[in-house]
């Protein structure tokens, strides 16, 4: 089947997904026969791991692009600041005290230029895109870990989250029911 999108990336993603599903379907019977005991669960869910890895491809590319831009911001600002320092130090006399003066000039110029960069909208946008992409990759990693945890008969992140949520709701309800919510304690804890 020909992919709708002309985008090469979409094409490769589609092809990978197609074969991933096909292989999972075709190998389900043999793998069921071969996988026994606790690892059976992992074998059955292994498709989910490859799906996540395929989906992550675009994000890895985006992450790399944004990371390059992030370092580009840092690099360009560094070079610009260093040029300003070089121009300025020619005015500083060459004696023992000049080391302190040089340090002051270097720090002031770098501080100023980097603060301007951090204050720049384009830096903020790229940095936040970078963090968001990293978080998306982390989310996929969490999903993969969940498959592994499930196979080890351990609670997944989602299940633990549900428990936390339940505990939070219960605590709130108890506090509403019991107005004597404060537990007073008296002890010297300052260690002084």
């Amino acid at each position: 089947m020909k992919p709708q999108s002309d985008d090469m990336f979409e094409y490769y993603k589609h092809t990978s997904m197609f074969w991933n599903d096909m292989i999972a379907m075709m190998s389900s019977k043999p793998s069921s026969l071969m996988a026994v005991g606790p690892l059976r669960n992992l074998t059955e869910n292994i498709k989910k791991i490859s799906q996540e890895l395929i989906e992550a491809n675009q994000e890895i590319v985006d992450f790399n692009t944004q990371l390059v831009e992030y370092y580009q911001h840092l690099g360009e600002t560094w070079i610009g600041a260093q040029k300003k320092v070089m121009a300025k130090i020619s005015e500083i006399p060459q004696d023992a005290e000049s080391i302190e003066a040089y340090k002051r000039v270097w720090i002031d110029i770098f501080e100023n230029d980097f603060t301007q960069m951090f204050d720049n909208k384009s830096f903020s946008k790229n940095y936040n895109k970078l963090v968001t992409t990293e978080l998306q990759l982390l989310k996929r990693w969490n999903t993969i870990m969940d498959v592994m945890l499930k196979s080890a008969n351990m609670p997944t992140k989602e299940e633990i989250n549900d428990i936390y949520k339940e505990l939070f709701t219960l605590k709130k309800q108890i506090k509403k029911i019991n107005p004597q919510k404060r537990t007073r304690v008296r002890k010297n804890d300052s260690g002084i």
């Binding site: 963090v131 978080l135 998306q136 936390y164 010297n188």
Partner: protein, 354 residues
């Protein structure tokens, strides 16, 4: 050329001094993580979930009737208020006759990720104030909030004005759109939903990133160069290590609270526009009619004065005072400058109203 040679002995001398000091340093001082912070003794008088309320032991025979409750920031720990006896905010207040309580918000775990403004303001802070009122047999307390704790104190005062006699807002985060710091530039485009969805709580590592972009060269390089230059000065080293230890103890921020913070203050700027809701209650700054003392620092690179000052103009108080100091965010509360300039004005103002 002669000039260049003249400076050589000085450079060699400096280098030899530096090497000697570097070798002798570990013999003189304690291991950094064992440094003790805090000089004023206290009792932990109230605990709920992760939070604790500390009651400092009085330093005067007679105390001012209205107690002072300090709502510390949710970033870093409360010890900065008492980091050094000579620069201690707490000690100064105790010596001035105030009965001082401090809220330590503690260190939230993953289980606390659903805690938001409602729990912090209407449960924790309210319970602390109630406790102090019970213990001191008063109906109202003086409430001071620092940084993000200033925002919590402001929201509390707007929702529970009947329990606050005086409000002291020290570098509070109020108007996110007017904030000119690099932190606000990052916060405005931050995908906080994704962060909370994937990680849960705001991790300290991210806070360290935010700290590192604030004066990266002064704080990241020059500070350490100065340390090496002054490492034979015991007092300097002691003070340096205390601050470093304090900086390194940043707790995570509960995910829901962080989300409401970023969206409500920095992205949508709801608080100052009186559009914020906490636990289904409308937060109107006009409800703040008690005496207000706002303190801001011109050199504050974490919460710019433009971000804090709108509180002074947005409240309904008639008795209000705005003080602007030529210092920084931490310098305003823990420095010789604050002992000489910030605290005397505050204690004088507060005594008249307590």
């Amino acid at each position: 050329m002669t000039q260049e040679f003249d400076s050589v002995p000085t450079i060699i001398g400096d280098f030899l001094n530096f090497s000697r000091n570097l070798v002798e340093l570990p013999k003189k001082i304690t291991v950094p993580h064992e440094v003790k912070i805090g000089s004023c003794p206290y009792d932990v008088v109230y605990e709920e979930d992760r939070i604790r309320m500390l009651h400092y032991k009085p330093l005067t025979s007679k105390q001012i009737q209205i107690p002072l409750v300090i709502s510390y920031a949710i970033v870093n720990r409360f010890q900065i208020f008492d980091i050094d006896p000579k620069k201690s905010w707490i000690r100064h207040m105790l010596e001035s006759g105030f009965d001082v309580y401090m809220i330590d918000w503690g260190s939230p775990t993953s289980m606390d990720k659903f805690l938001g403004f409602d729990e912090y303001v209407n449960d924790y802070l309210d319970n602390c104030v109630e406790y102090v009122c019970d213990q001191s047999s008063v109906d109202k307390v003086s409430l001071q909030g620092y940084c993000t704790g200033g925002t919590l104190a402001t929201v509390y005062s707007a929702l529970h004005p009947e329990k606050v006699k005086n409000l002291i807002a020290t570098a509070p985060v109020i108007d996110g759109w007017k904030d000119t710091t690099v932190v606000s530039n990052i916060a405005r485009n931050f995908d906080v939903d994704k962060m909370v969805d994937v990680i849960g709580n705001m991790p300290p590592e991210f806070m360290y990133y935010c700290f590192s972009i604030l004066k990266p060269f002064e704080q990241g390089i020059e500070k350490y160069l100065k340390f090496f230059q002054n490492m034979d000065n015991e007092k300097y080293v002691d003070s340096f290590l205390k601050i470093e230890k304090w900086l390194a103890e940043t707790p995570p921020i509960p995910g829901e609270l962080f989300k409401q913070w970023i969206k409500g203050i920095y992205q949508e700027n709801l608080l100052v526009q009186n559009k914020m809701f906490v636990g289904n209650q409308h937060v109107s700054l006009k409800n703040i009619k008690m005496p207000l003392f706002t303190q801001v620092a011109v050199g504050d690179h974490l919460v710019s004065p433009e971000c804090s000052m709108p509180l002074h103009y947005a409240v309904g108080s008639e008795d209000k005072n705005l003080e602007i100091y030529p210092t920084g965010h931490v310098g305003m509360i823990a420095s010789s400058f604050s002992q000489k300039n910030v605290l005397p004005k505050l204690t004088e103002w507060l005594k008249k109203r307590s």
